[in-house]
């Protein structure tokens, strides 16, 4: 209840400071436009914006869903199969050091001009933090509790479902929260590889036409979209890891 109140308070305070400083210090719109100017600009492209928002949201969700599932699976694999961790984790780490943006053409050649290429990039950015957090969460399991379960003759599977997974859940949720914003970033970058619709396309246009107000508009809209996803994850988290909250 009061969390929501605080959240709104935080946003309102930020908005007030923003608007006040723009007017007080006469900041040029090139550096920081007024919120009202941003709102007006948004109203003038509302249809395109809505279309882009929907498209980007879908890409993000698909990429996030696949990234989360695969990330969790690999986190689990790494925890139980040492060889897999030793062999694959380094490759995963290497993969994360590659700026995809340098390989737009390759992405298009491999995955085509469809929504797939955005989903793939957003997947690629999501799975790593999720895998790492999952692994860390699973490793944080109390050895004595594992021993207890083993003394009951628990199979690896039972041990995993009844003990390891619940123990790791808080850490996994942290990974997912990091992942969702990366997933959104991935969708946007993906749209920079020759797409026609999406917040990323609009952002790119605005960047290169130096439409500062539009850039800010898109920053706010993407931020809002991400915040909604983040909120949804937090909600799920509160449902799933209730015991960790107090």
């Amino acid at each position: 209840m009061s969390t929501r109140y605080h959240a709104i308070l935080g946003l309102v305070i930020t908005a007030l400071i923003w608007e006040a400083s723009v007017h007080l210090f006469q900041i040029s719109p090139r550096y920081l436009p007024s919120l009202y100017a941003i709102y007006q600009d948004g109203a003038s492209v509302s249809t395109d914006l809505a279309r882009g928002l929907l498209r980007t949201a879908i890409e993000t969700l698909l990429g996030f869903a696949t990234g989360a599932v695969v990330g969790i699976l690999f986190g689990i694999l790494f925890n139980y199969v040492r060889l897999a961790e030793r062999l694959l984790l380094p490759i995963f780490i290497v993969s994360q050091t590659i700026p995809v943006i340098a390989f737009g053409a390759i992405v298009v050649i491999w995955f085509g001009n469809s929504i797939l290429s955005k989903v793939v990039i957003s997947f690629y950015l999501t799975f790593f933090p999720v895998a790492l957090s999952t692994l860390r969460g699973l490793q944080s399991c109390d050895v004595a509790k594992i021993d207890l379960m083993r003394s009951f003759g628990a199979s690896y599977w039972t041990l995993f479902i009844k003990l390891a997974l619940p123990t790791a859940l808080p850490a996994i949720m942290v990974g997912l929260r990091v992942g969702i914003s990366l997933s959104l970033a991935g969708a946007i970058v993906g749209e920079w590889f020759g797409d026609t619709v999406g917040l990323g396309v609009m952002l790119l246009q605005a960047l290169f036409f130096e439409q500062t107000v539009r850039v800010w508009l898109l920053i706010l809209v993407t931020g809002f979209l991400g915040a909604v996803f983040y909120g949804a994850i937090s909600l799920v988290e509160r449902k799933m890891v209730w015991w960790n909250t107090n």
Binding site: D142, A144, K145, D147, L148, M149, R150, S151, F152, G153, A154, T158, K162, L163, P166, V241, W242, W243, N244, N246
Partner: protein
Amino acid sequence: MATIHKLHQPDERGQTPSLLTLEGVWKRFKGKGSETVAVKDLNLTISQGEFVTLIGPSGCGKSTLFNIIAGLTSPDDDGVVTLNGKAQRGDDLLGKVSFMPQRDLLFAWRTVLDNAALALEVEGVRKSEARKRAQALFPEFGLDGFQDKYPHELSGGMRQRVALMRTFLFERDLILLDEPFGALDALTRMMMQKWLLDIWMRHKRTVLFITHDIDEAIFLGDKVVVMTARPGTVKSVETISLPRPRDTDIVTTPEFMDIKRRLLASVEEESMKTFNVAGAT
């Protein structure tokens, strides 16, 4: 109750067969630089249906011994652990003994009822059935009404009782209990003791029971094993021939007093070794 194993009949020659034997068992913990010998050349035989209590100074290796018997810690290679006549290697012992660790180890995300039912669930009993069976024990353990609470809402003694329930629901021939009544008040403790004896007598399960309370050790045990100070090994085994069923009043009998005095002296001698300043204060 398909899971109760019926292995406790005397064998053909009419002798009680030995259920568990440990021969020359060692356990050394390696730290950086130093080595701690927790269990040293330990020999112990527990017969089918026996109630054995174990006492010894703090840190002498009792919990380590329990972990070995439960199959959780593998002993060093020099000794042999035999269950039902079969030598046990590696993980063989897992799932064969019912084990209550010294810490309660309740799962924060499970209600009290589900924590109690955990071992049953692991065994593959259907969840609803597991709950029903756990549910039945709640009044006896003085926990009725707490089924739906979470562990953090319980007192220390209540948590211990939940852990105890969990162990009892996992029905095995050999039960290992590591200070199960440590955090219970006098009466609750007494009720639990009686309850345990009752279970043991009716089902003739074998019990190995760690305690610090010498009264408790004598009151419950067929024999009391005294361990030496670390490195822990068996110092002496006292057979308790007090008649059963035993009543609470038995603690005031001269026989009881006699045994108690002897054991006390034995444990004190060992405990003394732990302290550098012998006879401090």
